[in-house]
Symmetry: C2
Subunit: 274 residues, 2 copies
Amino acid sequence: GNEMGAAAAPTPAVFKRDSYEHRATLTENKCAKDLWNLMARKKTNLCVAADVGTAKELIVLADKIGPEICILKTHCDLYPDFDDAFGATLLELAAKHDFMIFEDRKFADIGNTVVGQYSSGVHKIADWSHITNAHIVPGAGIIDGLKQVGLPKGRGLLLLAEMSSAGTMAKGQYTEDAIAMAAKHPDFVMGFISTRPSAWKGAWSRGLVQMTPGVQLGGGGDGLGQQYNTPDRVIKECGSDVIIVGRGIYKAADPVASAAEYRKAGWDAYVSAL
Amino acid sequence: GNEMGAAAAPTPAVFKRDSYEHRATLTENKCAKDLWNLMARKKTNLCVAADVGTAKELIVLADKIGPEICILKTHCDLYPDFDDAFGATLLELAAKHDFMIFEDRKFADIGNTVVGQYSSGVHKIADWSHITNAHIVPGAGIIDGLKQVGLPKGRGLLLLAEMSSAGTMAKGQYTEDAIAMAAKHPDFVMGFISTRPSAWKGAWSRGLVQMTPGVQLGGGGDGLGQQYNTPDRVIKECGSDVIIVGRGIYKAADPVASAAEYRKAGWDAYVSAL
């Protein structure tokens, strides 16, 4: 079912939060610390999911919207023109515009396999992506495997504790188990993909970052199970820290203007929730 | 916990099964039908997980062990030398030796994203892999997305109903939900990745194929959560149809001799369980 629907209560409680600056002091993970400080400095909690069809389009888009975002989220396995120059080019843009890179790989295999998938192959994700993420379905060995590769490089891992899609299995005890796994790896796990951490029962360190996909100003859904929520509700009611916006920006007639609009909506929501 | 441990009861019941030939008549999916008939014709239920470090090594190995196997399982994202010729070369070997290709991608994203990941990118998995698999964590939209791409090409999808790794979340209600999702897509879902379907409570069509990873003659585990089970137990007690063997073969001193040994162990177990 649509868990977001439950948020439409008449008088929702506003999730009380710490500043991003303070939360930077609560993490052991380099990537999380960098991100908290970046968001505070640049005044943006907008991550753009740039699900365009080619690497060429992605690079053009990243250079345009770079000034508005804290994170560029990629799916490198969507681009037929991915090549060895991709990572270096994206890292240059990340330095130029002060954003971080998040390859949304959703690793989901056993520990021994993800070691190779993260470090090698055509994509060599660990070489250029500051942040990646993993499902906990295989058990904790997936974190051990990714950590072998990512920790020495100063990378950060997000665990998928919840998803925005209809009928997701990532809820209830599954979410609680993700919280417990994150607590065991404070050096490498930097946060969660989540939809409503304000409702979580289990305790979690406020050094962990909450990032929420499926954000669109209009709300609604697509024909393949995606369910949208607004920036204001995601930050203020659901207790998230970073809004992840995809089609609302990259499919907009003017992606830069749209990114600026989402940036303002996300930042205003954060400031008003402090 | 190690669910396999429960199988070590003093007098295990032997899972009663139909012949592969008969089960070919019970499926609507082209890939499943082809696989049932291939196994019966070639007298092998051995799938090799060829997790070598390069595409070059994979091609060499596939040509060597091809005569022993029903399926070659790949992880194309492990090979730094993957190129546009990979799929065609592998399909030639599949035709030469009469085996099918299974790219173990473990798709795990929302419907809209997996459409691109399956059809496009550098790997273009749908163009050369007969079989692929998906986690059900995102909800049923992932099947809708993959089906848009795979069904017109006559492909088959395996749902990960259980995993062989320690502490996996794919158990209990999660497994039952996978059974229900498969039942809604008999044209495209061809079976399951599973570890003990003989113990499942929910009903499932016998046209669906059960494939089990984590198989090694010695049993045991690795240091990253993998747990091994023997071919005999996997087929006879756990009720699986296809044994997936990785390090037991590709890391063996003589992979061809080892493949022949696993093939015999798997086939003998099947025949004795009929």
